[in-house]
Symmetry: C2
Subunit: 346 residues, 2 copies
Amino acid sequence: FTVEGHLKQALKDNIPSISHRSKAFESIYSTAVSNLKSLLGLGDDHHVLFTSSATEIWERIGQNLISHESYHLVNGAFSSRFQQTIAQLGKNAMSTEVNEGAVVDIEKLLIPETTELISFTQNETSTGASQPLEDIYKIREAFKDQLIAVDMVSAAPAVTIDYNKIDTAYFSVQKCFGLPAGLGVWIINNKCIEKAESILNQGGSIGSYHSIPVMLEKAVKNQTPETPNVLNLYLLAKVTGDMLNKGLDQIIRETNYKSAVLYQAFEQASYLTPLVENPVHRSKTTPVAVSSVDSSKIIADFEKIGLILGAGYGKNKSKHIRIANFPTHSKEHIEMIADRLVEAKY
Amino acid sequence: FTVEGHLKQALKDNIPSISHRSKAFESIYSTAVSNLKSLLGLGDDHHVLFTSSATEIWERIGQNLISHESYHLVNGAFSSRFQQTIAQLGKNAMSTEVNEGAVVDIEKLLIPETTELISFTQNETSTGASQPLEDIYKIREAFKDQLIAVDMVSAAPAVTIDYNKIDTAYFSVQKCFGLPAGLGVWIINNKCIEKAESILNQGGSIGSYHSIPVMLEKAVKNQTPETPNVLNLYLLAKVTGDMLNKGLDQIIRETNYKSAVLYQAFEQASYLTPLVENPVHRSKTTPVAVSSVDSSKIIADFEKIGLILGAGYGKNKSKHIRIANFPTHSKEHIEMIADRLVEAKY
């Protein structure tokens, strides 16, 4: 909720006009990276790269980290689109798929040893199903040679994964960071760098301006290969600074409290049921409820009183409501939504 | 220069928070496209696509429009980087290269018939050398089967090419459109669509979320495959509207007048010489002068009185000055720069 103030300040300081080869830009870049590293607990082995979206990162992972084969845990629209992306790049994208609202049972997984990368979607935004971190860590233990990739799109930084136990993770800034869309954050470790170099050395193509080696070459100078979304990088530097000041513990406590309030409302409202049956798999940041009435009616009624609820994703548009529970959403705001959900009659 | 006002209005209207799957977004998208089509004189055979940068478009052209071989007219850092991009994608990027400040003499070109795409850089931003449009049209006549690609990065819309005589063109919005960086505009015709489909049908990979067919599938619905830079699309819709109101003829007249003023100053100032010798090849939008003194001194002196001049590109940083002459720069502003350049003693 500090974004608007920062955006106004950016205009005053002429941020949209600064050159991406200037010292002023390098300082913004450096602050964004060091704040993200502090916030997420990243070490020297981790590198932070910037793309234009998390969608772009799917493609960059396909180019740089998979030469032939990947394995995807699929439980909704976003995990499925990542798998499709890899297939579109002409690579063998294998998967285990479960119904919407569930997460893949890792005990039943049969991942071939030939897999180069195993993909988790920590928080499947389309369904609000959340893969327990312990599942990811167990697969890490069992597959030490493979790369582990984790989609943290609507989870980071409100969900704290141990980045030392995975190889690459990514998110976009319009979810938990509350920024305008148009920037993706890609975290990689040294094993990812080695993989990209090995594909390149074997004569493969890993892309051009946004291949890992080309991005890193600029990143060490606090620059980007292309003219980037300077304004959003500035806002990211500011907002991550605010988050550090507030403290991540506090942000997580509030997220957990607000999600408990929302799920309680889902249980109490006669016309709602949480989509995700197992409480352990329920997303803290994107709770989803199945509605017994057309959800567009509920959404329209709430809009009249200034409360914005999300529709279901894709084919579930009128069957579900999805509520964003990001750090930018205050306790008071979430409590008001929960109260209204319980009071409403349909 | 209307951008700041539009940005403030965007904040009031909560544009940074709107969903890219909403009607409000579709309306912004549709306005941006139809304004660009009017402004550039595009017909039904032309399609406008959005990427995150012109750098990205180089890669997308490589993936979608070149299966084996391209030919590049290289005369500076940007035309050279496009060639490198195609080579990085594992394709045969041939070229004719001339010194900085010159343009390739098309009469001396030997382009193989096996070339699938011929690349022009209409305005080489690193040197201020501008390829005459007639050169491009002559190559079009001679190579009817090939695709003609034109880099219009710092030229459009102040330079009016006949888009019916080329197959694809591209630019970014932070130059002549005066917007914050983070958006590329890619114009393609139906021949480009056919080429991408033919590569795909022959088993080639044309990328994933930003392949031509995937982008077009969303574009017809006024949407994008990924969560785009919504704020910049809004600003582009507004600024292109302002440009249409002002009239492109007027914008071009002013651009020509201001560039004449700047080149006259380069001739008159004893310490400056236009980098581009042949007046026919001199860029209207990015005039570059060679300085007999360290240009960083001139730039610092001008900065003291609030006038921002650009340094030379790359290795010419302290040897050249580059002056952006975009629609956002007023006649008065350019006249003041020119007067000061002539008055100054070094």
